[in-house]
Amino acid sequence: MSDQSVSKASIDYTLLSQFAHDTRGPFNGLLGFSELLIKQFDQLSAAQQLDYLSIINQQAIRSYVHTQTFIAWVKCISNNLKILPVTVDSGEFMAALLKLIQPEMSTKEIDLQTQIMAKTTTSDLSVLPLAIANLLNHCLKYATAGIQINLDLLNNEGKAQLIASCTNPETKAMVQPEVKRWLDSASQNPVIQLFYVVLNAHQATITMDDDERTFFKLIW
């Protein structure tokens, strides 16, 4: 094994460790609450059963996001990721995105307001919502529980513009440094590597300093 390949293996291991860590979280709830349901089903009330099932569903979605991200990243580093932006209905694009961020929204009891002002958008529905969901989920991680978040999809001179913002400047001040730090750590984080690959394929740009309430603005 050459020095170069040893070094590459070491980098890949770090990235894989990151994935392993991110995956264990949702599997904790997925396995734990399904175990509780199996063992205590008859003793649980209908409301408790529903609570447990809701948690399992949310953890399954989180797990799905991690797995899809991992698969896309592996395809990416092996030059097999095909990103094909096509014209899609904006409502369909937003629905795909919301599905992936639903668990974090629900956990933090976020009041999500969406606005779709563009009829269509040019997007690869399999990876762009996934990449944006990872970014949004990271924003939500540091957001205060119970706040209102606005997600607006606009049409700006033929380009799609997605603006994620909150109503509270303090939340933005809390979230932004963490998200910037996260986006700067691409060398250690496959999720961010994939994020930039997907952005480049869509010729997208991201800004984060537009105003005191905007988490980020994505234009593609």
């Binding site: 904790n28 709830g29 509780l36 953890q59 963490e178």
Partner: protein, 259 residues
Amino acid sequence: MSKPVINTIIVEDDAASVALLTEFLKSFPLINIIGKASRYKEAADLIGTLSTEIDLLILDIDLEGANSLDLIKLLREKPKTDILFVTSFTEFAVKAFEYNTIDYIVKPISFERLSKALSRIGSVDESTASGAKQEVVKDVNRLAFSNMILMNINNEMKFIKISDINFIEAKGNYTNVALQDGTKFVTYGLIKVWEDKLPLEDFFRIHRSTIVNLHNVLKIEKGTYDTGILYLKGESNPFEVSRNYFSIIKNKFKLTSTL
């Protein structure tokens, strides 16, 4: 006297993991959750301001980017606190055991794994283990009614079902074990060992020298001086229930005063 409890704090930033731990811990009545925190600062404030002694700290390593190992420094004035790590990180295990750590569980966590970890409460420093901690250890280590144990019976190793035990009698440093099919054998060890191991819901001590399988009790008659006379399925001779244990039985099983 108030019931001994294990005052416990959960520090975890993943809401589903907190919910899961809370549900699992409901099976351990002595575990008393006195606080939860999801962020480093919140946890530091909680630990710093609590006047109650913290017996157990259940800790995730990564708290939204902050390393919770630093929190342990705040516990220096609370040396009796046991720490149980529940985390997605594998790489901090060695470092974690530099502290008062009873276990390091890598997610996903199972009920059995948590039980095993809790059985170590108080084992890090025996001299500082409170009575409550020892109670938890005892409860977690108890056998279940459906368990099997391997016993030496007349120089042959045989599996015995706990549910097949009819009664146990103390004979000095030995105990006589009687099974429901009439088999009797002698084992080395005090009756206290059996008392601490047998499932509480299924076996009961009725005398300093006797433990019986509650499922096989036919009836208890009133004896002299507030004692009882207990008849057990398969045994022609009744057993004496001492005054103290008869009183406990009456309270525990809410017998009326007609006896």
